[in-house]
Symmetry: C2
Subunit: 378 residues, 2 copies
């Protein structure tokens, strides 16, 4: 998990792969015999299986040989009845309903906040442990908000096989990616303040947003006006403040997620966080510029060593060849990449660092983190 | 200058305009009679006239009816002999040589640092006032580094018609765009510390980089590997740490320009600045996320009013409709746009603000600022 094992690709999309399906695995036939379908495994369900994150759930489950004795493919009425193949077996997508969760041990949800709010508690009532990728329950005090590498203890009271349902929330993608890098440093030197600026990919707004970016780019290159459906303004060759609603304090909801979720995940209500969240014309991986202020001094070499040894993190920090993390390099990868690790000149001594972080928004920012949470239940 | 007077375009490029020539004016015939060619005006020269900034020099000179009695079009040997039309008159591009500056009152340079280093002093010796867009002389203590709206006093001793040459440096584009917004706030509340993350366009690396971004984007959309000549890695649908060399302190040269130029322009050696400079797949306007810490309290409403009244600045800060500055909206515009103006939650009281700034890199970030400097000489 801590290595970027695939060869570094020099371009996002291969000629044989449609642009937005950069991960074609969910519907493909695996080439090795999977051990994951087994009687001793839990019964699982994927709610929102046709979405970008839903497809990635399947991909990650398969990649990690997640054990299961059965799997239900759930989606909206619109997709119900469609067929898909997963690990050599054919499935029919079922419409999400209260009955969907009968006998389901673990449900992975990524079907939007309103679906989670409606069906999450229903599933819990039926004894299902729900790992929810929406923001519906993240700030609920009764619901653990978990990054497995960061705060696994938050869910230690939730176990499979106790016949009791529960909710576990998956943090916002930008928070996960930021805290994967910041937490190991925080453990050593205690973060007092964090100033974050994000460079967020289309995928955070779903598969349709990725398609819109592709379509708009073709249109602009052809000299045609861009089609704006998901976003209200041109995205191709442009960037804009995150499309989440802006609150009365001037922060948008995405930024406030970073502020509040960090406090909850670190169990540290006084940590000072500010964020500016920007959407950039990149497909599926986020980047973040993170300025850190510490209580205790932390020099950049020590910080680099800490990050090199951090689970789920790779350091790409080659100053001589100007090689640092990029969204493309982490796309379809599990690890979060950190680079540009340097002493902040605007702070005294070694009280501050600047770092630059990239992580796959669909993978560690969503599906992988949720599946890791599910693995901790086994 | 303080208004975005053109209608807001919903796409960068019109069907009739090649992608990278988003400003076709330099070689076009103007539709009104220009008053700028006049005997009482200075003789001027443009060095590097075929580059992206060189072309924009001509465009800005024309737009602003800059008076001149003659204009020399200078470039490298490769372009010498080519013809161009400017304000209804035909010119032959001449090869830059020491003799080029005989009788030239003002020379606008944008031909790269080594050309400036070689020919800048030669021009000065011949009595020319050189406004240099390169980084060659910016940190030279004898050379004023000027943003006309910010520190016009730095060049008050330099006048035309005294028969004496001089050098005036144009700051780095990222510095100009940042300080256009930060200075009015600094004047009111004194900036103690500034944390900047940039979102920089292709144009900062020249017209060839803009072409490369366009070409790569077409290639990636066609499923072909991208051609990487200017940049060593894929730029289309990607972003990366600025391509400037990385220094031993871990900052790249672009970032250190922001740190050092701010100190010099503000004549304030203790100001604390850190920057992370990132290249994003946008054509010609930069964006910057700027976190400010003040000595005196400054609330967001006062800050907004100050910025609304600042020369060369427009405020685009509509929270209800999520309308904030974008690179596209400021492209080909003079003014720097500021939005996302909000109290920084991570600082006490009103001691800090977050803002988001966009400015046309070729225009206010380079050519316009240089022409404004030249105007102050008249």
């Amino acid at each position: 998990m801590a290595s970027l094992s695939l060869p570094l690709q020099n371009h996002v999309f291969s000629a044989t792969t449609p642009l937005i399906r950069s991960n074609p695995r969910p519907f493909a036939i695996p080439t090795k015999v999977r051990m994951s379908l087994q009687e001793s495994g839990p019964s699982i369900a994927v709610a929102g299986v046709t979405g970008a994150v839903g497809q990635e759930f399947l991909s990650v489950l398969s990649d990690r040989d997640f054990p299961y004795r059965s799997i239900k493919m759930l989606a909206s009425k619109r997709s119900a009845g469609r067929r898909l193949t997963f690990e050599d077996k054919d499935y029919v997508i079922e419409e999400l309903s209260p009955e969907s969760f009968e006998g389901v041990d673990i449900a992975l949800f990524s079907a939007g906040g309103s679906i989670s709010k409606e069906f999450g508690p229903i599933a819990v009532d039926r004894g299902t442990i729900v790992v929810d990728n929406s923001s519906a329950f993240r700030m609920d005090e009764q619901v653990p908000l978990v990054i497995p590498e960061v705060n696994p203890e938050a869910m230690e009271n939730i176990k499979l096989g106790m016949g009791k349902g529960a909710l576990i929330a998956n943090p916002n993608c930008s928070t996960i990616i930021c805290l994967m890098a910041a937490t190991p440093l925080h453990r050593r030197a205690k973060v007092l303040r964090m100033v974050v600026s994000t460079y967020q990919a289309a995928s955070g707004a779903g598969a349709a947003a990725m398609e819109e970016l592709e379509q708009q780019t073709r249109e602009v290159l052809d000299g045609r006006p861009p089609t704006c459906k998901i976003f209200k303004e041109q995205y191709a060759f442009n960037l804009f403040s995150h499309n989440a609603s802006v609150l009365s304090n001037g922060y948008n909801e995405e930024e406030m997620k970073m502020v509040k979720e960090t406090r909850k995940i670190w169990n540290y209500k006084d940590v000072r966080v500010t964020a500016t969240c920007i959407r950039v014309p990149v497909m599926r991986a986020h980047a973040e510029s993170v300025n850190l202020q510490f209580e205790k001094p932390l020099d950049e070499d020590t910080a680099r060593d800490i990050l090199k040894n951090a689970p789920g993190v790779v350091v790409i920090d080659d100053r001589a060849s100007n090689h640092f993390p990029t969204p493309l390099e982490v796309s379809n990868k599990d690890a979060v990449a950190v680079g540009r690790i340097r002493r902040d000149l605007s702070q005294d001594g070694n009280q501050g660092l600047d770092i630059f972080v990239c992580g796959d928004q669909i993978r560690k920012g969503a599906a992988l983190n949720a599946v890791q949470i599910a693995e901790m239940l086994l």
